[in-house]
Symmetry: D2
Subunit: 381 residues, 4 copies
């Protein structure tokens, strides 16, 4: 088995999500970080490389340079794929260029700055023949996979109600004015796009609901708000949902929900049973039934389906967390690349979020903004 070589765009030392991607990529021992355009400032990029134990010659001052230079290296030396961990406005350009130069891509969400970019990127991916993964990392949790499997097998019967929430409080005050970089770009439409919290966390909620249930949102009525003084992008929102199968539900999300840390949660109700799951306590899946006591499923615990327990790294009772869920996306992506590298064809249903999920997320953002601008009129995704 040959380990895969990763090049990174963004993620200089001190960044939040870059470090998450690196740790997630390394947990399972399948991937080595070999190069990076960690910053658009070459000095900073080199400093980051040094701190990460990467030779200076493979620290680049721009993603363009990285892609061009790496492409020149011998096949067994050059990077296999690019990990894009920059703010939203720097997703499309490096993704497009990497794919066009023959590199696979794994990219943070939301997919792009605009819906147009997203649609174009989907075409580029399809014509490139390369693999593209989107890190909707919450789908990597074993209990999310257990819920998905239970619903797919019909354990819950026909799904009728879906409530999803993503509540954070870190923008409850104007932290973007205090020099907090994570906040600064997120409230800037030039870097975030037309959605604020919508893009940052609403898309996770949308993706989670559709991933777990296998049912798409058909239309929505959204009431999104910028509570923070001077903010132009939403930092809070409430949405009525109607699903393609007739199910109905709500989404509520916020980055001004004071005191909340990272409270992504979902409840799905079917005719025979229901499930409930919260990201902050990810190793418990609550199931309720018409005629049986409430059950608590755990990763690898009694009653786990293989669809979930196959993703568990350690015995039941040994909690796995956010990084492991994230790592599961990287592992599945890596296995897909190994499969392809060994001469097999690409999977038709790969085991990670793809550019399709990314386009859907962008459509969700656009539909929600449009609906909200029309005073919560029903709007198709």
């Amino acid at each position: 088995m040959t380990r895969l070589k990763m090049g990174m765009v963004g993620g200089g030392i001190g960044s939040f999500i870059g470090d998450v991607h690196r740790k997630a990529a390394s947990i399972d021992g399948l991937i080595d970080l070999v190069c990076g355009a960690f910053s658009s400032n070459e000095e900073k990029s080199i400093a980051s490389a040094e701190a990460l134990g990467i030779p200076q010659k493979r620290a680049y001052g721009s993603f363009e340079q990285m892609i061009l230079e790496e492409a020149k290296l011998p096949e067994d030396e050059r990077m296999d794929f690019v990990a894009i961990v920059t703010p939203n406005h720097v997703h499309f350009p490096p993704a497009k260029m990497a794919l066009e130069h023959g590199f696979h891509v794994i990219c943070d969400k939301p997919l792009t700055l605009t819906l147009d970019e997203a649609i174009e990127l989907e075409k580029i991916v399809n014509s490139s023949g390369k693999v593209f993964a989107l890190t909707h990392n919450y789908t990597g949790y074993p209990m999310v996979k257990q819920a998905r499997a239970m619903i797919a097998k019909g354990d819950l019967g026909v799904i009728r109600k879906i409530n999803v929430q993503y509540l954070q409080g870190w923008l409850a005050t104007a932290v973007e004015k205090t020099g907090q970089k994570q906040a600064a770009w997120r409230v800037d439409p030039k870097k975030s796009g037309i959605g604020g919290a919508l893009g940052d966390i609403g898309t996770h909620a949308e993706n989670l609901a559709e991933y777990i249930t296998g049912i798409q949102i058909e239309e929505l009525a959204a009431d999104v708000t910028a509570f923070g003084e001077g903010r132009v992008l939403d930092d809070d929102g409430n949405i009525l949902l109607r699903f393609e199968n007739g199910a109905k539900g709500t989404m509520t999300f916020s980055q001004i929900a004071t005191g909340e840390e990272n409270n992504l949660g979902i409840a799905v109700y079917g005719t025979k049973g229901s499930i409930e799951w919260y990201q902050e306590n990810p190793n418990e899946l609550i199931a309720r039934w018409l005629d049986k006591p409430k059950q608590i499923f755990t990763p690898g615990g009694n009653g786990s389906y293989p669809e979930a327990s196959d993703y568990v790294r350690i015995p039941a009772g040994h909690p796995e967390g956010y990084l492991e869920g994230f790592a599961t996306i990287y592992r599945s992506f890596a296995k897909e690349l190994q499969q392809i590298n060994s001469g097999d064809t690409a999977s038709t249903l790969p085991d990670f979020p793809t550019v399709k999920d990314g386009v859907r997320g962008m459509k969700f953002i656009y539909a929600a903004v449009e609906s909200s601008n029309n005073n919560a009129t029903w709007t198709k995704i």
Copy 2:
């Protein structure tokens, strides 16, 4: 101190809510049940009286008979007030007649069958000079009162987001067709009114949100549904909320949320802190803060405000439940009557839900139905 004498309309042996009212009325030793029109069938009424240890002569075959006969008894013998525990369509007639014959009234929610009745009843109450209480029992929980006090004192800052839910699963199947009486009248518009789950539990959610925050819902966009085959009244709904102070939120309620028992819950987010509370675990109030660790308040525990701890019957750590919360409404009602009986004037802000809350609940039902009929158009309450 003289104990108060209660006459009951409805609540024959075997009824759910009648028994709840009786137990709630007796916990604090302030009230004695002395008579009842427990059933419109006189024989059944007498059988109920016998089982309850009430003399046969004070078991009546109709509320009209009870009111007329009791009015003839000497003052120190006749009932002081009427408790109405019948289905919705039998709220207005006995309430009107009792008030007009000089009896105080305590009545189950929602207030009446129709909004017109509600408005008329408010007038009757006001002109009667009698006390009228509505058993929105969930406001009786100490932790609900703690949350209300914290918000009133400004501990949470300016309220910006309010999410409330009331989830039950007992109508997930067509139990109304199995002879289940509780279900049968609730799905019948002649007995329930224009709201199904809306009236039965949605009004509790509305009342709880407004009671805890002291902020009224200004307008709503509702999407209510009758999922159960053949049902004409809603058994599920999702509502966007806008509050008078600019706060926004969601309400989701259901009686087809399979496996849920009685999951009433609320989360309120302010600029400085937030609270979260669930009825099934009523002795915990979760508080989150901008800059302090999460706290868990308990009835009578450290940090309780007098506004809450005054309602606690037993030391911290000894859980009180649904009946105690319900009893708190009865106790406050009884104390009001004792105050009046001792010659004092009635309270201007009585410590229990009143006919005003009942009218508001009816307006909520009507606004939600209207909004939903108009495809979730924003509708003022």
Copy 3:
């Protein structure tokens, strides 16, 4: 159905446990409080009676007076039974006198001040032909009964491990020196007996473990401590347990466990499954299994045995608390008296704790003190 008439010894206005007994006795509408020796100070007793709506003539200045006077009243007027809610040293005298004058007795725990008294009281009860109940109230919780039923039916297999705890923190500081009456008598061996926390809460833990499992503690090795400065009675203890069937376990109890409110809990492990229950969250029973997911049982919820659901007053999801559990003891006691009053014989296995349980509790206290005095040597109960 005739309601039963209760006379109370102790429990003047302001007492903790007297008020609990009164509320517990009244919830189910089977019992009326008709008289009391609420205080050994006659004036205070009268004041209490007045506050409770009891005629002055039936407020007595001593239990002796109450028993003698009530015995003279006509049968349909005099009290049916005596409720003893005084500190431990005033359990035996009124119990003995009441029984000998033909009154049934319900008494708070622990049974008596000394083991000798306990053994003598058992003889008196047996020869009196009267009913004696001991308020080990925690056995009244539906989920305790569910656990007991599951174990009795063999659902858990052979029991091998039993851990029980009762943790409070209210004596973490020297509150007995601040005029707190509840604390003052509990730390006084003349009023409490040889056990401090041992008698006050350790006996509850012992009773709960034996009630739930149906298995008796055979021997114990106890290490009890008086942490509070100047205290002569234990306020904390840790005990190794060996049960008659070969099971082993631990008990830990404390009244100096800072911040704990009333944390009684138990875990029982068998060869096929296990259960876990906590008094502060009494409406959940956790069950774990060899080969099935963890389950959560609720009162009246799916999977409840009749042995538990028969004790539930309201539908699943409507929490019952401490008072309801306590009331269940009173209700069972009342039904036993009604059965006897109607001419039936007394139950051989009555549905409430009896003098036998009380003697056992006293033996537990004495064994634990003896073991601890011998540096935790194994001591038979």
Copy 4:
């Protein structure tokens, strides 16, 4: 920064703890696995190396071979340290040999097969000048470090009561007879030593209690049992604890606690406050106080001390799990080696468990077995 090179003893593909060590070592990007004696069967060792992406020439058939061959390699190529992940009886020999050949060592717990080995190993470590870390991984959780910091700063006042538990159920049936390798060696005294569950999990509980409180157990009274038919080593135990400062407590541990997964937990009570923590929900630390509401601390959340938050990899609300806690031991070990490699002296109080902790764990096992053999007589550690 140069990454460190790790050689592994044990941990062939399919092993539980070997894989854990590898993942833990790789999360933070400081360590590369470069060689291994993954099995005493050379073919299996080579197969494991291949699966792990390690060149065949660095797959060894014995730890002796690995140590001798690696020692011959150039300094910048050979392994820096040995990770020992074998059953207990293969801890001492490779540790001794590695240290004597100039390699640092990180080793799984318990330290050795016998106490004599442990004492000898401590001498070898001390005279070697090399670094030795023991993977008591549970000390790596941020909330464990928060609890430790709170106690060290005196937030809880004087510690008076310490209860610790470690409950598993995986040996509730005779899985060792089904070919389960993990079980087979753990029940074999030749491979496990004189303690069964005592060594496997009891030592974790002992270490956790002493690490969090900074207080040593002085003496204990142990009642350990082999419930499993035919087992010679304990699979369950209950212990009374007395600490050097006068605190008292209990330990209960089991591998036959049916349905328990990995329930390590601790509660510590001081004069001013108390804490409670459970490994299965590791991102919550419960704190209770004399006069403030209960608090819940989270990693990196409000109120975290730097002593805890310095160990958090991702923002509050993003759960970290078992692997991250384990990785923290590896990271601290790696930083110590980097510090030494850069010419600094070794830390006098290194930030990871050392051989001293290992010797203490062995003394704990021996004291507990001795006490239990003497019918739970108090025995000094």
